[in-house]
Subunit: 314 residues, 2 copies
Amino acid sequence: MKLPALSDVRSAHDRIKPFVHRTPVMSSQQLNKIFDCELFFKCENFQKVGAFKFRGATNAVLSLPEKDRNNGVVTHSSGNHAAALSLAAGMNGVKAFIVMPETAPAVKKNAVAGYGAEITFCRPTLKSREDTTREIMEKTGATLIHPYDNFNVICGQGTAALELLQEKRDLDIVVAPIGGGGLMSGTATTVKGSSEKILVIGAEPLNANDAFISFTTGRLTPSVNPVTIADGLLTSLSELTFSVIRRNVDAIFTVSEESIISSMKLVWERMKIIIEPSSATVLAAVAENQAFFRGKKIGLILSGGNVDLRKLPF
Amino acid sequence: MKLPALSDVRSAHDRIKPFVHRTPVMSSQQLNKIFDCELFFKCENFQKVGAFKFRGATNAVLSLPEKDRNNGVVTHSSGNHAAALSLAAGMNGVKAFIVMPETAPAVKKNAVAGYGAEITFCRPTLKSREDTTREIMEKTGATLIHPYDNFNVICGQGTAALELLQEKRDLDIVVAPIGGGGLMSGTATTVKGSSEKILVIGAEPLNANDAFISFTTGRLTPSVNPVTIADGLLTSLSELTFSVIRRNVDAIFTVSEESIISSMKLVWERMKIIIEPSSATVLAAVAENQAFFRGKKIGLILSGGNVDLRKLPF
C-alpha cells in the first residue's frame, strides 16, 4: 500500500489551485485569551461547497487517466463529498454519477442536481448503496471516487494544511477532525513532511471514537452505528487512512458532545463565522485539554460550514 | 454646523488604525450569480465588539482634548455603541460611564461591565436616560459621546468605506444601512469625497423609514416607536446626519422585514458568516431592486454580527 508523501500533496496543490478557494486563516484575540494560547483557524467553511471535501474531489477528478475521463466518476454519499465531487466533475467537463438513499433530504438532492450530477436513488442500506454503485460502474465504466479511502483524495485534503503552513510557519501543533480519516491523513502527511517537530493531533467525537480505539489498540476497529452531532465524522477509518494516521499522528483526543456544541457556539458568537459541528471538534479538543495546549501556537483545520439553520443545537 | 469631509475621515483613520481591525472584504460567486452583479462585502461583523461602532467610538475617545480625558466619557445605550465606547475608552485609559435601562439583557450588562465601564441603571424611559446622563456629566465632567450625532463618531464610521475603497477602487455603487445615520454619513462623506461618480445608496427598513421620509420631503421627520427586526436601525436621523445625508446620498431604498430575513439567511448559508439583521438590509436593497443593480460593482457595508443565537428569525 503506497502512502502519500508531502511531494504528492504539493503536486495536488499545483493541480487544484486554479479551482479551489485559498481560504483565509483567521484568529480571535478573545479565543486566544480564553484558552491562553494562539489559535489559527484554517477556514474550509469558506471553501467551495462549504467544505474541505472539494479539495480532494477536485484532485481526484484532475488525476483521472485520460482514457477514463469520458466515462465519468461515481460515488455513494448524501453529504459534502457528493456535492464536492459533483461540482469538481462539472467544472472539468467530467460526468458525475451520485448514488443517494431515497431518504436523503431534498436540500441535498437539489444541491447535487444543481451541480449537474446524475443522481441514482437506492434504498437506505449499505448493501443497496454498494450494489447500485457497482451497477453504475459496470454500465458506464465510471471510476469510483471514495470519499476518503483514495490516495488522490487524501492528497487533495492535505492542501488545506499546506496553505496553513505557508502562512504560519512556526506552529507548535496542528489539530484536524477525524471521521473516515481523509482530512486527518492529508493533514498529518503534510505537517510531518514539513517538520517532524510540529505535533499532529486528531480530534474525534467520543461517541464515534473508532480512530481513537484503532490508534490505541493498533487494530483497525470500525464504529458500529455511532451517534454524534458531528455528522461528518460518523464514518470509520479505512486501511489506508489508518496506516497514514498510525505513522504520522501523535495523539487522538476524544471530545464530548457537550464540548462540541459549546465550542461551535463560541466560534459563532466570538468569530462570527458559521462552522458545522464536525469543525468544532478541533476547538473542543483544545477546550478539554487546556493544560496541554497552553502557551502554544496551534493550527486548527475547520472542516466546513454546512449546517441546517432550522436545527441548531443551541 | 460643520460637516465632515474626506480629509477628516482620513485623519480619523490614521488615528484609529492601531486600535481597530482592518476587516476583510469578502465576495461570493454564488451571490454574484444570484443577483447578476459583483458584490463586495466590507465585513464589520469581524470588527472588535462585533460592529462598526468601535471605529467611531475609538475616534471620539482619541479626539478628546487633553483637559477632558481625565474626566472620562459617558453615553446612554444598551447596544453596540455602549460596548464599543467601553472598550475604546478602556484601551486608552479613559474612564467610561454607561447609562443603561435596568431592563437591559444580562448579556449586554455583562459585556459592558467586562470592558471595565461603570454602569448606571435608569428606568427604561428616554427622560430617565437623559436625566441620569446629565447627572453623571455634572458630577464627573465626563464628555457625552452620542452614538451618531457626533462629528468624530461619524468620521470614525467613515473609515470602513475608506478601507473598502482602498481595496476596490472601481466600484459603481456603495450601499450602507441607515439607522441614526452615523455609518451612512461617514460612508457617504468618504465615497463622494473620493469620487463623485460612485452612487451612494442607503438601505433602511420600511418599518423604520424616517430617513426615507426625511430625505424625500426635505424635512427631518423622526420615527415614532418603529418596530423592525433590524434592531440597530430603530433610531432616527439627527440634524447633523440628515445634513450630511441630504448632501451626499443619492437615494434611500426601503426594504421589507421579509427581505431582511431572507437576505440574512442567504448570507449565513452561502457565505458562512454571521451578520445581524441590520447588516442584511444592504443585500435586501439589492434583492428588491435587481434591475437597478444588475451588472454593477457594488460595495456593501455589513454593520455587524451581534445576534442572539437563541432567537433567530429562521
